[in-house]
Assembly symmetry: C2
Homo-oligomer: 329 residues x 2
């Protein structure tokens, strides 16, 4: 399952918006309008199928990362880049919902539920292609390359995850590689695009990209912790969904090292999944996993120190980094 929980509560979002300066809010609104234009301009089928996906979109963390990484720059190219990363993210969600046969996302019917496998597969493909079209319109080949690399990484991460499903042999290193591919490389692309098309420029793209990778890994680890820890009333989904579809995550990997009986576990229903979540928690694996995530956040912030960024940009990025591990804490 993809990391889809919001990065932060409303207070944290407000803090980021305040820190980043007056440009951010109108830019996010422009990206939102651009997404709606794209959804409305490619056939009535896309319009219908994407409206729920757009509305269920959450906090637009990835567009926000593009804009904040751009310093206080403001341009149509940045709006296009922000729309592109969100289109790509939406495409993966639509395809994920097919794989998970998910009826709802954030309380709304998924494309899969509404239109079936074929419509959802094609809708995801269409969103992918529009992401590339948006970025191509900027005329920056480096930007298109960043998106292509992120897209490939996402798909490779998905392949790895299915390859590793139900495996007793998934190492921490393999898990972290999967987090990087499946989640963090798109965060990297967001920061890289902001740098390339914004004020920091190409010279800062690598460092900002590494910042993105680190917070992306932290984001995914925290998502995986929340899947075991809950609480359900805050995450909005039952505990142990990863256990049910065989996805081996860091909490389980750590717990298995301490409780070998967990190596044999195969859960068959939600009740069993809850019970295994409790056994994982009992080993202390959740605290360890949280520490790992915090370590990635610290390393992300370290990358910022070497960069010549404005005070607002630096503070807004640090707040986003903290936000990915403070969700529900």
């Amino acid at each position: 399952m993809s990391a889809t929980t919001p990065v932060s509560g409303p207070e944290q979002l407000a803090a980021v918006l305040d820190a980043a300066g007056p440009n951010l809010r109108p830019l996010i609104e422009r990206a939102e309008r651009r997404l709606q234009e794209v959804a409305a301009s490619h056939g009535r089928e896309l319009g219908r199928h994407s409206s729920n996906t757009l509305a269920a979109g959450g906090k637009r963390l990835r567009p926000m990362l593009v804009f904040i990484s751009a310093g206080e720059a403001d341009s149509e190219d940045l709006v296009r880049a922000a729309a592109a990363v969100e289109l790509l993210h939406m495409a993966t969600l639509v395809h994920d919902d097919v794989l998970d046969r998910a009826p709802l996302r954030r309380g709304r019917a998924t494309v899969f539920a509404d239109g079936g496998t074929a419509a959802a597969t094609a809708t995801g493909d269409l969103l992918f292609s529009r992401a590339f079209a948006e970025l191509t319109a900027t005329g920056h080949a480096d930007a298109v390359r960043a998106l292509a690399d992120a897209t490939s990484a996402l798909a490779r991460g998905e392949l790895m995850q299915r390859e590793d499903a139900w495996s007793a042999d998934v190492s921490r290193a393999r898990y972290l590689e999967r987090c990087e591919l499946k989640t963090a490389r798109l965060f990297e692309a967001c920061c890289r695009l902001g740098a390339l098309l914004g004020a920091p420029g190409a010279a800062a793209a690598d460092a900002l990209g590494e910042f993105g990778v680190r917070i992306g890994i932290a984001f995914q680890i925290f998502d995986d912790v929340l899947d075991v820890a809950g609480p359900v009333e805050r995450t909005g989904k039952p505990r142990g969904t990863d256990l049910l579809d065989g996805t081996v995550t860091l909490p389980l990997i750590v717990a298995r090292e301490r409780d070998l009986s967990l190596l044999e576990v195969r859960v068959a229903d939600a009740g069993e999944a809850e019970a295994v979540c409790d056994r994982i928690a009992a080993t202390g694996a959740l605290e360890d996993s949280r520490r790992e995530a915090l370590d990635h956040v610290a390393r992300a912030k370290e990358r910022l120190t070497a960069l010549d960024l404005g005070a607002r940009t630096r503070q807004a990025l640090a707040l986003v980094a903290d936000g990915v591990v403070e969700r529900y804490s």
Copy 2:
């Protein structure tokens, strides 16, 4: 179902290769090697999942169109463009096989059969992204745009097809629009890419693109005729697969105009599908559909007359145009 039958028999292929001049064969071999490199360079999962898809690849019609449309130019950018269109085509085949739950393609196990829905969805996404990465490496924004537009069209065509499944109201115009989106726009992109990156240049891109659209539509109509007409020993698949999955094609649309009882038809198994194929053929709808395809080929060739192309290029393109409607005839 996508148009996947080869454009021509071995004799026609040889004629095209002879006409196009000595560059074509080595270029096709280079594109083939590039495809193998891409498949080998993005994780062991892609390597495994794509090897059968590559091997089942048929005649590489789309790369050939890129090269022929380039006149007698020869460059690494052209090889990348040819690999890109084939990667995109492969991506759609891999996704189509998920939707059709197809166990085999050209006698080899599909990614869907080998790895399941998730692996096939992710493999298709990875092939999509590598197509864009290949083209981005050429540094030509127009080329990337052509691919993005073709990809969007493909997905829109797929959405239309599912929307129209089992419908009694599909008009000829709607069917032709679907052929254009689902099949012809990628042919257009091939020709456009050849022009942009090859000898004809940007000035010839629109006319060569229109040539591509016309032969793409003819190709799809003929594919749909073959699905009704067979013979099975030449197409390699049972007759009436479109009827079984509710895809309304030109032969059925024409036949319904003449035999209203066909409006009510819903086939449930291969035997019923064969019987309905016979009823469609009895109305003369196959001859009419073939004529429609031939008309598109004629219009494609007309587009060539206004262009300043070398004699070899013109002849090779004309042979390809004839080839799309001479398959199995």
